[in-house]
Symmetry: C2
Subunit: 430 residues, 2 copies
């Protein structure tokens, strides 16, 4: 038993977790290392950021998910490097030897050379990001209620979202619903419906990775929700009370106290560490260029998958950084490892695009399932159904569905708590 093949997986996101689960019955010794103790269902993170769901409803403890898988152990640890010669993963407080290594460490936001923007325009990747955004959004309404200067009040009620990918579109739609419905009766000095939501996108349309007709439908749904969309506009400066945009020759300044970032992502720093250790190349956003079987070139025993891998062998361009890719890659690597142990071979990895979807608001979504494309209520229901299907634990699925149903019929968002360090005073002076 001591000589079992050791598979070490770094990261408990979609890629890592699906690898581990697909190795369930294999005669291997699997170790999953993550610095967090839970798997996070990132596609619903925007619901936490907008008070619709609680963190516990979209996160599942990794140990709980994997505890009945007897060949697998979970390690809470921070990976700080890779020794590819000695075949060890280096942790901040130890090391883990491997025979096969799967690195699935995901991605973080990217501020295009402006790291100073991070404090002013938080992105949405972690539970802490989500509660911070929730805090800023609901504090902005509180500050507006307290503010007497109409100019300043208006800037508190202006929300700028940078990037009109799925996350940006979802945030913009949810913010609009909060302003127009959820908070409508809550204030006495302001009308929350006066809130202005601006969605900024550098390319010429919202949801740029989707087909143009779906982008058009999404733009129309956003317009119905009173979201002001600025396409072909790039952010040139972010200050505490103003965002500066440039669209062609034109410059626009938007006075706002709340900027949210959904624009760029880059691979986890572990991608660079792995590439350096293994002598591999990385692309423009730091992803490891992988071979057709997802291994790191020259190292058949090392795989990089998910958002931190750049796989170009199928479409010429890299596969998108979405959960479906990570999940399929995880399952492929699990099959490949088992095939190798049985002296079988496997054809190269092929991504089967099951389509893309984005939700814009209550009953409004767009879906492109390859042969069929649809929008409106049907797409929204499909989106809901598919997302619930993939929420990892049955219990969470039920709670999310209940919350959703309740929120749908009441427009309520009961989890709109402002937590963390005291935000007071909201303004200076008497």
């Amino acid at each position: 038993m001591e000589t079992r093949h050791r598979v070490v997986i770094v990261g408990g996101g979609f890629g890592g977790l699906y690898t581990a689960q697909a190795l369930k019955r294999a005669p291997l010794e699997v170790t999953l290392v993550d610095r967090r103790n839970f798997h996070l269902f990132q596609p619903l993170l925007y619901q936490v950021a907008t008070g619709g769901l609680s963190p516990g409803e979209i996160a599942s403890p990794l140990r709980g998910v994997l505890n009945r898988q007897r060949n697998t152990r979970v390690l809470l640890g921070e990976v700080v490097g890779f020794d590819v010669v000695g075949r060890r993963v280096l942790l901040s407080d130890g090391e883990v030897p491997y025979d096969t290594l799967v690195v699935a460490a995901g991605a973080r936001h990217h501020y295009f050379g402006h790291p100073e923007w991070e404090a002013l325009a938080p992105g949405l990747k972690t539970i802490e990001d989500a509660t911070e955004i929730r805090r800023r959004v609901f504090l902005a309404f509180e500050a507006a209620e307290r503010e007497t200067d109409p100019e300043l009040r208006r800037s508190w009620l202006t929300f700028v979202i940078v990037g009109a990918g799925p996350t940006g579109v979802e945030l913009a739609g949810a913010l609009s619903e909060i302003a127009r419905h959820t908070l409508r009766e809550d204030f006495r000095n302001i009308d929350s419906r006066d809130a202005r939501i601006v969605l900024v996108e550098g390319t010429d349309r919202v949801l740029p990775p989707y087909r143009p007709d779906l982008s058009r439908k999404a733009a129309r749904a956003l317009a119905r929700l009173d979201v002001a969309v600025r396409t072909g506009a790039v952010v040139t400066a972010i200050d505490p009370d103003v965002v500066t945009l440039r669209a062609g020759e034109r410059t626009e300044q938007i006075r706002t106290r709340t900027v949210l970032w959904g624009a760029g992502v880059q691979a986890s720093p572990l991608a660079a560490l792995l590439a350096r250790a293994a002598g591999a190349e990385t692309d423009r956003v730091g992803r490891v260029l992988v071979a057709p079987d997802l291994s790191v070139p020259g190292h058949p025993e090392i795989f990089a998958i998910g958002d931190m891998a750049c796989f170009t062998h199928q479409m010429g361009t890299a596969l998108p950084g979405v959960a479906q890719v990570a999940m399929q890659q995880g399952r492929y690597v699990a099959r490949l490892v088992q095939a190798r142990l049985a002296d079988r071979t496997l054809p190269s990895f092929r991504y089967r695009d099951r389509g893309s979807m984005a939700v814009i608001g209550r009953g409004a979504a767009v879906a492109d399932l390859g042969l069929v494309r649809f929008n409106g209520h049907l797409a929204w229901l499909a989106w809901l159904f598919i997302h619930l299907l993939y929420v990892v634990e049955f219990e969470n699925r039920l709670l999310v569905l209940m919350q959703w149903g309740w929120n749908y019929f009441t427009w309520n968002r009961g989890a709109r708590l402002i937590t963390g360090p005291s935000p007071l005073p909201l303004r200076a002076g008497p």
Copy 2:
């Protein structure tokens, strides 16, 4: 309409919220000031601290709770003082004039002259307290799993709870269930059932405010859960890796990395500010001594209620700091204010003790409802029913009940997330 009587309520806990709600139909202008934007159902906070419930499930946004009450506005603000001559509440960023003032600012923990213990032994009063305790508890198991030294591992698996009031007893019972059931399959290097839970109490029995026979039953239930109870023992020192107790002549040192505080409470600092401004007296734990009608002596227009008030006119001793007292006092003050406006008088406040309860674990609780006392499953169901009845929003009630049902049948606690700043590395060195 401009001349409506202005009632300002400080604090959105049980006292303040029930005052505001009882003024619903009164021809008054009500302002509720709180520095948090939500009402917190404190009696279930220990469930958040132990991963059974999520913060959003036991908190309700104050604006949401009060938004249909048209005579009431909510103000997010930090009270920094009282001008009782000018009849103004002073905020860190403004002021609010009042005709009648109700202060219900609650209580915080109290470390008996050892403020340095706070960092080592967090108490349980806020959402942040609860997520911090949750973090420490589940990190301790993670650290034990990683630790190879048996001595240190044992100290990670030892949990000391100071104070055997309802909170201490509930925490101890929940920790025991986590160790014996929830986490049982989760680890590979440790057996979570080896965890040692020590409950320290200065008086001679657990649940000292209850009748002796209920204390005995609670002690037996704790013993069944393998909780080691140390009565007649006081904490004399808390260090990062050891707690020192003294019981009579004997001294005991317990090596532990996790100490939780459920021992002393003292009134909010606002009690002292109010007392100084109004020339009132405070008791040993900082509570304002109030008149038989809950007003501050010499100031019939100012009331202090709930955990920060000391009311001795009924039993000779002060009423306990429980939700029932605060709720009844809030309702009384609301009736008194309305009576005065109608030139009627009201008899003094009388507390109607509806009984006390504490839950020890799954199916184990004690209840003393005056005429009847019971324990076991029946008490547990009564406890559950009564608590659900008082959870403020219907939606939360449903979610809590569902979570509870799920946790009951599966022993699961899905909200056991370790959040906040990175806890890694868990130990120093390689």
